[in-house]
């Protein structure tokens, strides 16, 4: 039996086989969507860029070379030109991919977990706990995200860690909503009642039996959210509240190029293109994933 046949077996012998078979079918549907595949390729490239930045980058991203400042694109040795300190823009973008990736990973780990925790607890316990937690969620949702992040960073002080913290603190409410809705649907099901009759407490039920049910919808949301996270991080960097010089964060690079916009256009343009392409990648993939994983929109 080949691997494909094993995956397609209509009578799976084990739970793992059934699950992998479903994933395989999803992958086939995703592969039919050229835009989603383009997004996947872009994200793959981002990962490669971040992983192999020291080997791919032709120059050091931080060492200044003032004799070489503001060289245009395609000049010898500098494919995308150099910035106002004579640093190679391509190298800086390659190293900047690491910062972007770090921000994404940190936010993608913290915000959904916080939201998942609040949402499942509110949904499972109900009553006044639910009211209080959901009211809190509504208040955070009522704030425009970027402005709240701005105010938070202003208090905490500029820096990449505080920017991540501020973004995570403004990103959790939608996850809490999603998780609560999923929890409400499984809360009264028989298998939860069975676990409860066996003597399991609220903590055990939420952690072991409710949270796993919420994961798929939370994961789709994460993919769709990442583009927004990249844009907010870049916006904070642009305002000087995120990563600090000489780090090669993309938003910060744009703000450095702003002074030279009309004469040396490439300094601001190139890092902006990088932001645009990466967040487009996440949007394309998230869009495709939703079509695949959400059965309601699959038929359309």
């Amino acid at each position: 039996m080949t691997l494909t046949e094993w995956l397609r077996d209509p009578n799976p012998a084990s739970r793992r086989q059934a699950r992998l078979g479903q994933a395989w079918l999803g992958w086939l549907r995703l592969r039919r969507n050229p835009l989603a595949m383009a997004g996947l390729i872009i994200i793959g490239l981002l990962l490669l860029m971040a992983a192999f930045a020291p080997w791919l980058a032709p120059h050091d991203p931080i060492t200044q070379n003032l004799q070489n400042r503001l060289q245009p694109p395609l000049s010898p040795g500098h494919l995308l030109g150099t910035d106002d300190f004579g640093r190679d823009i391509l190298s800086r973008i390659l190293y900047g991919a690491r910062i972007t990736l770090a921000v994404i990973v940190l936010v993608a780990v913290t915000a959904p977990l916080l939201g998942l925790f609040i949402g499942t607890v509110a949904g499972y316990l109900g009553g006044w706990v639910d009211t209080v937690l959901m009211r809190l969620t509504d208040i955070f949702l009522a704030f425009p995200r970027l402005i709240l992040a701005l105010a938070l960073v202003a208090v905490l002080g500029p820096g990449i860690e505080n920017a991540v913290l501020a973004i995570a603190l403004t990103a959790w409410p939608p996850y809490a909503r999603v998780a609560r809705a999923e929890t409400m649907t499984v809360r009264n099901s028989d298998y939860i009642a069975a676990v409860r009759l066996q003597g399991a407490g609220a903590v055990r039920i939420i952690r072991g039996h409710v949270m796993p049910m919420c994961l798929p919808s939370v994961i789709i949301r994460v993919t769709l959210d990442m583009a927004g996270v990249i844009l907010i991080a870049a916006g904070l960097g642009f305002l000087g509240l995120g990563a600090q010089p000489p780090l090669s964060e993309w938003g910060l690079m744009i703000s450095a190029g702003r002074k030279y916009l009309f004469d040396q256009w490439w300094v601001a343009t190139m890092p902006g293109l990088a932001i645009f392409i990466v967040s487009l990648g996440f949007n394309l993939l998230g869009d495709g994933l939703r079509d695949v994983l959400d059965p309601r929109s699959a038929g359309k």
Partner: protein
């Protein structure tokens, strides 16, 4: 609203719904103030020192502390804070010594002008694009609308602003540069036009100064167009999905079977039902534009709320930052309320 007599119990339930909405609104506003209050208390800048200076005597410091109400317990301070905010007192800017509410009142119309024009552009471009995509699913037009929409979601708006300035102002010279008017007109505007609404396009028209209006238009068209593109991305996607949903309904088939022309089926029959959820979407995108305007305004030197907040941020003027934050938050909440009320008005099922 309807020609039929409405029973008193229906009115009662409607009123109850409205009361619940208003109660939620009040709680949200207090929560908003609570968040900004907490932020203003943990900020590592001593508000007393900021007012009296480093060389003040102990007595002066004590007087300032009492004047600011800092000797009272935190919960009382919070009550005073809420009371002040309700009376329109959002504190005094450290940078200019001006009440925050005055400065915000001056900046708000500029932001509103930008956001309103952008929303209008977004609706005019986004609704037809969404309808086009929905009526030909899977076609080239559908893919293009989808891609253009996703691009709008993915572009950093401040970068788009810079590129727009470079291209349309720097290279092509089609539009005015940063600011709301040319410098020469700016002086004239201050002396010759009485501000009525604070929105330059409206005020110049009211004053009959068409040359000034044209100049203002050449300055606003680029930032409003770029923000309009961002809101178009959202509106076109939502229109497409709402319209697809309606076109699958049986009443559409009935209308087609009756031999009704297709444009009438789409723009009259289906559109009426698409409009209901679309109102919420438009209000939401308007609210999001208030936020997107923060970064755009810094690029275009647009003297609105966003510029006010970011300028204050650069010099750690926290009362100004938080005052601006509160105003944006209140505008956000109000827009949500308005969309909620409109929804009830348009959709008979929600009444």
């Amino acid at each position: 609203m309807t020609g039929f007599p409405i029973s008193s119990s229906l009115w009662a339930s409607r009123l109850r719904g409205l009361a619940a909405t208003l109660f939620t609104l009040a709680i949200t506003l207090v929560g908003l103030l609570f968040v900004t209050f907490i932020i203003s208390r943990v900020v590592p800048i001593d508000p007393v020192l900021a007012i009296v200076g480093a060389r003040a005597t102990d007595a002066q410091i004590e007087t300032a502390r009492v004047a600011l109400g800092l000797e009272q317990p935190l919960w009382q301070q919070f009550l005073i804070y809420v009371g002040n905010a309700l009376q329109g007192d959002l504190g005094t800017s450290i940078r200019t010594g001006e009440p925050v509410i005055t400065a915000v009142g001056r900046a708000f119309p500029a932001t509103m002008e930008l956001a309103t024009l952008a929303t209008v552009i977004g609706v005019i471009a986004g609704v037809p694009a969404g309808v086009l995509a929905a009526t030909r699913p899977g076609s080239l037009a559908d893919h293009i609308v989808r891609l253009v929409g996703l691009m709008g979601y993915s572009i950093p708006v401040f970068w788009l602003g810079l590129i727009g300035l470079l291209l349309f102002y720097g290279v092509l010279g089609w539009v005015g540069g940063p600011g709301r008017l040319d410098t020469a007109y700016d002086m004239m505007f201050q002396f010759e036009v009485t501000p009525v609404t604070g929105m330059i396009l409206v005020d110049t028209l009211l004053a009959g100064r068409f040359d000034m209006f044209a100049n203002a238009l050449s300055h606003i068209v680029l930032p409003a167009g770029l923000l309009g593109y961002v809101s178009m991305a959202y509106i076109s996607r939502m229109t497409r999905s709402f319209m697809m949903n309606e076109l699958g309904q049986e009443y559409i088939t009935t209308a087609r079977v009756k031999g009704m022309p297709e444009w009438r089926v789409i723009w009259v029959h289906a559109m009426r039902n698409v409009l209901v959820p679309l109102i919420t979407v438009i209000a939401l995108s308007y609210a999001n534009l208030l936020e997107g305007a923060v970064l755009t305004e810094t690029i275009f030197a647009w003297p609105g709320l966003g510029s006010y907040i970011t300028d204050a941020l650069m010099v750690n003027d926290m009362p100004a930052v938080l005052g601006g934050t509160i105003v944006v938050g209140v505008a956000f909440v109000t827009l949500n309320l308005v969309s909620d009320l409109l929804y009830r008005l348009v959709d008979p099922r929600a009444r």
